[in-house]
Symmetry: C2
Subunit: 220 residues, 2 copies
């Protein structure tokens, strides 16, 4: 947990701080991210950071939690029962993701990078936890679709959920490969990734994924 001092800070100072560190952690691995480099760029003393946070991990963890929480608040009002099938629901979830990305690109990019960070045991642990949560959620949803007879019954919901989550996670790569979006550049410049071209690129990618998965999952 950050120290009280951090929360006493003037809001614009706090935001500048967070932005700078979001950038650093979006473009480097946790180990390579350098507090020294960031404070230099910000023009403040390194000691200050340690008035706000216990250590590097405390800072990182705060960023992670904060971003996840905000993102969650975007997604949580999207409900399956408001859509006539799973795929429209899924599409709507993505659309919220785009909104989050447009409004808070740095945070969105940070989370995006986090999911692709896997080396160093600590980061891998974060990834595994995140994946597990996503898997549980989608496994449950898919089991429901199976139950109501929309999805095939000859495969474990968990396996289907895995395929879905994996492709979802890697959708940035998909955009890079099939649609020439330079994600690495966007991470470094702080531009929105998912919202590239007002989100149209992502939605096209999503629609192609749905075209594939629909056939793969639905009842024959």
């Amino acid at each position: 947990m950050p120290k009280q001092t951090f929360f006493n800070l003037a809001e614009n100072k706090r935001e500048k701080l967070l932005k700078a560190f979001l950038m650093e952690f979006s473009t480097k691995s946790f180990e390579d991210a350098s507090i020294s480099a960031v404070v230099k760029k910000l023009g403040i003393a390194k000691g200050s950071i340690y008035q706000y946070f216990e250590d590097k991990m405390d800072l990182f963890f705060y960023l992670k939690q904060h971003c996840e929480q905000v993102k969650q608040s975007y997604a949580k009002h999207i409900k399956r029962e408001d859509y006539e099938d799973f795929w429209q629901f899924l599409r709507a979830l993505y659309q919220e993701g785009i909104k989050y990305d447009m409004e808070r690109p740095l945070e969105s990019n940070f989370l995006f990078a986090l999911v692709n960070q896997q080396h160093s045991p600590t980061m891998r642990q974060f990834y595994i936890e995140w994946q597990q949560k996503a898997l549980d959620m989608f496994t449950q949803m898919i089991a429901y679709e199976v139950k109501i007879g929309h999805f095939r019954q000859d495969l474990p919901p968990k396996s289907m959920a895995y395929v879905l989550v994996t492709l979802t996670t890697k959708i940035g790569d998909y955009m890079t490969v099939t649609m020439d979006v330079d994600i690495q550049k966007k991470l470094f410049s702080g531009e929105p990734i998912l919202a590239h071209n007002s989100g149209k690129t992502l939605l096209q990618a999503v629609d192609e994924h749905i075209m594939i998965l629909k056939r793969a999952f639905s009842k024959p």
Copy 2:
């Protein structure tokens, strides 16, 4: 390129060296991998390494090339025309992968880890190159399946190839998630990953993937 000195080394010494570094690079990122730590474990002087290689990258690159080359030699005699459909062919490719994994677990694990290394621009570059090669190969193959009327025609082969390659790349994760294989542990202990349970686990994963992709890709 390694220096001549390296190739003059007694074979068992060279192999011990390679094994130790394969281990290090399988369990750490390139940046975090420590030459100092490995030489300490090997009980040799750090200077020696620099008699063999130009620098850290030279060493890494040699390992990468060497492993890729050997692995290629396993796969290259598997030909599409010897199988009656794409999926049997794909399965056979995996079976060669298992063989390689059983015979050279450290090398196999190194390549496995390499593909999951993405932060640090250099490693990302390697990954992108690798992915590009795999994509090109499968795009071509899929285009062929489309042409002979086995696969659907309403999706770009490149998109289908992407889905295939992504799931293929992440099959280790699939095993972890749906079959309780602790891959991280295996990396650290140097046990074969893909050949876990004589490869049966992997083949089951492959078969489940095929069950999904067959429907997704084939003509309606």
